[in-house]
């Protein structure tokens, strides 16, 4: 059968995959703490149709100087998360925290497993515990007293509260940040959460502003690092490449059609 058809098919698939990755980025352009994903491609194996150096004729002097190696197309090898810093958006909300650096907040899921997030829009639940906007507990747990009038969180993660009748600020907790040697290897759990994998390595847990954790900014959120212009350009590129590959399919089809109709 015609190889060109199959090769062009891989091209179509790759562009479709790229468009899916781009649309996911665009859909999350306003998601706090979202990290953009970049579709990565790899050329497939080459087939040796004719070996270079083979005999061109019985005469031994005549060998083929070059053979024919045909590529078999393209393959999407994954979506690489790009962990660059997103812009900080000042919200002035006391429990909105942004990380300036490599660290992730640690959050406990319903089964007590650790999850990691850059989305620092925290709130307080009915018990006074600091939770994410989806209700998961921050780890280590921080409890804000019922009568606290003001919560302040320093750049190094110390949480202190003001209470009526108490002059000094009361320290109620210390935020810790986890960092990974290969954040691109984290598994995406959705809902802005990541999970540790063998590829990401074990988390290094540190107080903010120590080691590679980064500092905490109170009253701000980290916007998604999606560059919408770049994504739109990627979208155009994907669409055009898709069109060109479909042209290759129709060209291959046309060749076979012509053969069938004219012999």
């Amino acid at each position: 059968m015609n190889r060109a058809l199959y090769v062009a098919k891989t091209g179509l698939e790759a562009q479709q995959f790229r468009l899916a990755a781009i649309s996911n980025n665009l859909a999350n352009a306003n998601t706090y703490g979202y990290k953009t994903g970049r579709a990565e491609f790899d050329d497939l194996l080459y087939q040796n149709v004719r070996q270079p150096g083979a005999q061109a004729s019985q005469d031994e002097v005549n060998t083929l100087p070059s053979g024919l190696q045909l590529g078999t197309g393209v393959k999407a090898i994954g979506v690489q998360k790009i962990h660059t810093q997103g812009n900080l958006m000042i919200t002035d909300n006391q429990l909105d925290l942004a990380v300036e650096g490599k660290g992730f907040f640690q959050v406990l899921d319903q089964d007590g497993n650790l999850m990691y997030t850059r989305d620092g829009s925290f709130q307080v639940n009915q018990n006074g515990d600091v939770v994410t906007s989806s209700g998961y507990l921050l780890e280590p747990n921080i409890n804000i007293p019922q009568d606290a009038t003001e919560v302040s969180i320093s750049r190094d993660g110390v949480v202190s509260v003001s209470q009526p009748g108490v002059i000094e600020q009361n320290q109620v907790g210390q935020i810790e940040l986890a960092s990974f040697i290969n954040p691109a290897g984290l598994e995406n759990l959705g809902h802005n959460f990541f999970a540790e994998t063998t590829a990401s390595g074990v988390p290094n847990i540190n107080n903010p502003q120590t080691a590679e954790a980064g500092a905490i900014q109170q009253g701000a959120l980290e916007a998604s690092n999606v560059n919408t212009v770049e994504e739109l350009i990627g979208m155009i590129e994907a669409q055009r490449t898709y069109e060109m590959n479909s042209k290759a399919i129709s060209a291959a089809d046309g060749m076979m059609q012509y053969l069938n109709n004219n012999t």
Binding site: V7, S66, I82, N182, N204
Partner: protein
């Protein structure tokens, strides 16, 4: 029967193969760092007794076009691209050294610096690079990797290693069946050179899509010509049959 039909068949068959190669270039129009393959045809004379009046066609991939693709800025510190005719050395899956113009590098959990396909990136002495826990990694113009170690203040940069950079002549490189560019057999060893590296950018594929499309049309038309030749052969055969028919 006249062998002309076979000549036309060889033409059509080889054009079809060439079309597959062109489709491969097109399919990789968005693969970062991809280098397009050339295709040429040549006449292959049939030798032996009798007149050498027949030449079959033969499609070949004589070389790969290693010219530069467009640079796209990504801003990611571990995306690197070399300027001009420099190459970065990586270790291909079979353990040999391969050359790339661009690499989207990652640091693995054990600190190994690899490209996006997981191939170790090599240093000056040709061994894989390992990066200890860091606050940040910077890649300099000459391929020097400097880091801020995780346990030191941000202003303490440590020079860690240097990328393997070389300038092999374009004619000394060939693309293997696994798609990696390597030195040809017998080519002089590529030495470490001062090649300018830009970090925060990737090189896109060097496929010229307009050219590939035109090439595609050309191949399609040439294919049709071969089919026409087949049809001509058919009518010749019919004519001679009718001449000889007894009625």
């Amino acid at each position: 029967m006249d062998r002309m039909l076979y000549i036309a068949m060889s033409g059509a068959k080889e054009v079809m193969l060439s079309q597959a190669n062109n489709a491969n270039n097109l399919a990789n129009a968005n693969t970062d760092g991809f280098k397009k393959d050339f295709n040429v045809f040549r006449a292959q004379h049939v030798e032996g007794p009798g007149w050498e009046s027949r030449a079959y066609s033969m499609d070949e991939r004589p070389a790969t076009d290693f010219s530069a693709g467009a640079i796209k800025v990504t801003g990611r510190e571990l995306d690197v691209v070399t300027k001009e005719d420099g190459y970065i050395g990586i270790q291909a899956p079979d353990g040999s050294e391969a050359f790339v113009r661009t690499a989207s590098m990652q640091v693995l959990e054990n600190g190994d610096l690899v490209d996006v396909k997981g191939n170790p990136v090599l240093n000056e002495s040709g061994t894989p690079i390992n990066i200890p826990p860091t606050k940040s990694i910077t890649i300099g113009d000459d391929g020097t990797i400097s880091i801020v170690p995780a346990d030191s203040p941000s202003n303490q940069l440590v020079i860690l290693d240097r990328l393997r950079l070389a300038k092999p002549a374009a004619g000394d490189l060939e693309k293997g069946l696994d798609g990696y560019a390597r030195l040809k057999e017998g080519a002089p060893e590529a030495l470490q050179e001062n090649v300018v590296v830009v970090s925060g950018a990737l090189e896109s594929s060097n496929v010229n899509t307009a050219e590939a499309l035109v090439n595609m049309i050309e191949l399609s038309r040439k294919y049709e010509l071969q089919i026409k030749m087949m049809a001509t052969t058919k009518s010749h055969a019919q004519k001679s049959d009718s001449l000889l028919s007894i009625r």
